[in-house]
């Protein structure tokens, strides 16, 4: 596999992200397995949802779009939960009430996520094309959503330094945010070359080598007690299937 400098850098970063992701999932599975005891999947649990707040900076990019999209989804959940719970309570207690109309942000969620024309989908389509660019992505967003109520071109939002092929504005529930298209395609591409996967599958890295790293003493103490993922330990309890709620 011959790569130029830029391709090698991207491949290296993809490998680092893959290793981090695999180890993170393994640690979570191992902790869940060791704290579950004899509990079944039907056991009660506590979920801690640590949510990043809405972000709007001078320069906003792919990370801000992901964060603000998550907040749109949680805002929708909050609205439905609060209003639905109150309405159910009033109905249960036979209290007369007037329906409250609230601003629905489903349109903004659709703008970002809905297939096949949501911003995230357009980003994927752009990334799949050979020699794709951030400029092509922004143009695609502009051409597709110029009449969408939750989309604005940068100039219309007072961001006169940007052209529609350089940035786009999303009208979130918490405010308008101008996203610069730079690096969107690169950040969205998490491709790991098959050669790397195969070589990592042959790795002989021992858990103690990184568990005993001096900067992670608590993990070093914990790790020898943990087991490998379920696939390597037929006698171990099945892995947690996502009952915990994290953020």
């Amino acid at each position: 596999m011959k790569l130029n400098t830029e391709q090698a850098t991207l491949a290296r970063d993809a490998l680092a992200k893959a290793v981090f992701s695999k180890i993170f999932d393994w640690v979570v599975d191992a902790i869940n397995s060791s704290t579950r005891g004899s509990a079944t999947d039907e056991a009660k649990f506590i979920g801690l949802l640590d949510v990043y707040g809405f972000e709007s900076f001078v320069h906003n990019t792919y990370e801000q779009l992901c964060i603000n999209f998550a907040n749109e989804k949680l805002q929708q959940f909050f609205l439905k939960f609060i209003f639905k719970a109150e309405e159910d309570l009033y109905t249960f207690e036979n209290v007369s009430w007037t329906r409250i109309e609230y601003q629905d942000n489903q349109g903004c969620i659709d703008l970002i996520e809905k297939s096949p024309t949501g911003i995230m989908r357009l980003l994927d389509e752009t990334c799949k094309k050979p020699n794709s660019s951030d400029k092509q992505f922004c143009e695609s967003v502009s051409n597709t959503h110029k009449r969408n109520d939750f989309y604005m071109e940068p100039r219309a939002a007072g961001q006169k330094q940007y052209r529609p092929d350089e940035a786009f504005v999303v009208r979130h529930f918490a405010g308008d945010v101008c996203y610069q298209g730079v690096m969107f395609c690169e950040k969205n591409n998490d491709t790991l070359h098959s050669d790397f996967s195969e070589e990592m599958g042959k790795a002989s890295q021992q858990v103690l080598a990184f568990c005993t790293h001096p900067r992670s003493p608590s993990f070093a103490e914990l790790a020898p007690r943990l087991t490998l993922p379920h696939a390597r330990n037929p006698g171990a309890p099945p892995p947690d299937t996502g009952r915990g709620v994290g953020g």
Binding site: V19, G37, L123, S197
Partner: protein, 105 residues
């Protein structure tokens, strides 16, 4: 006797589980030396075996899938506040961090 909220019951169980010793097989010395990375990538390597080259892997797609899974969890979960005891402190003395205690009370 007034029933404890679900969260308090779950908390009490968590303490019990947390203090329980791990089964012997978890502590076996042979388990201490394991090929972690090889195991972690074994499924990926098996899938890619025989296939050469790159297949586009979207961060956005994974983010959306993870987020929608979280929303499904939230929608199927009883969400409520942690009720403090009569003296303003949690009934189960787990929370020792001052900031968390302030939040809960």
């Amino acid at each position: 006797m007034k029933a404890l909220p679900d969260s308090a019951l779950a908390s009490a169980r968590f303490v019990t589980l947390h203090s329980s010793p791990l089964p012997e097989r978890h502590l076996s010395p042979s388990r201490r030396v394991v090929q972690v990375l090889a195991a972690l990538f074994s499924d990926t390597a098996a899938k890619s075996s025989g296939k050469k080259g790159n297949t586009f892997n979207s961060v956005s797609r994974r983010f959306i899938n993870d987020l929608n899974a979280l929303m499904e969890d939230l929608n199927s979960t009883k969400v409520g506040d942690t009720a403090p005891g009569p003296d303003g402190a949690p009934r189960v003395p787990i929370y020792t961090c001052t900031r968390e205690l302030d939040t809960l009370t």
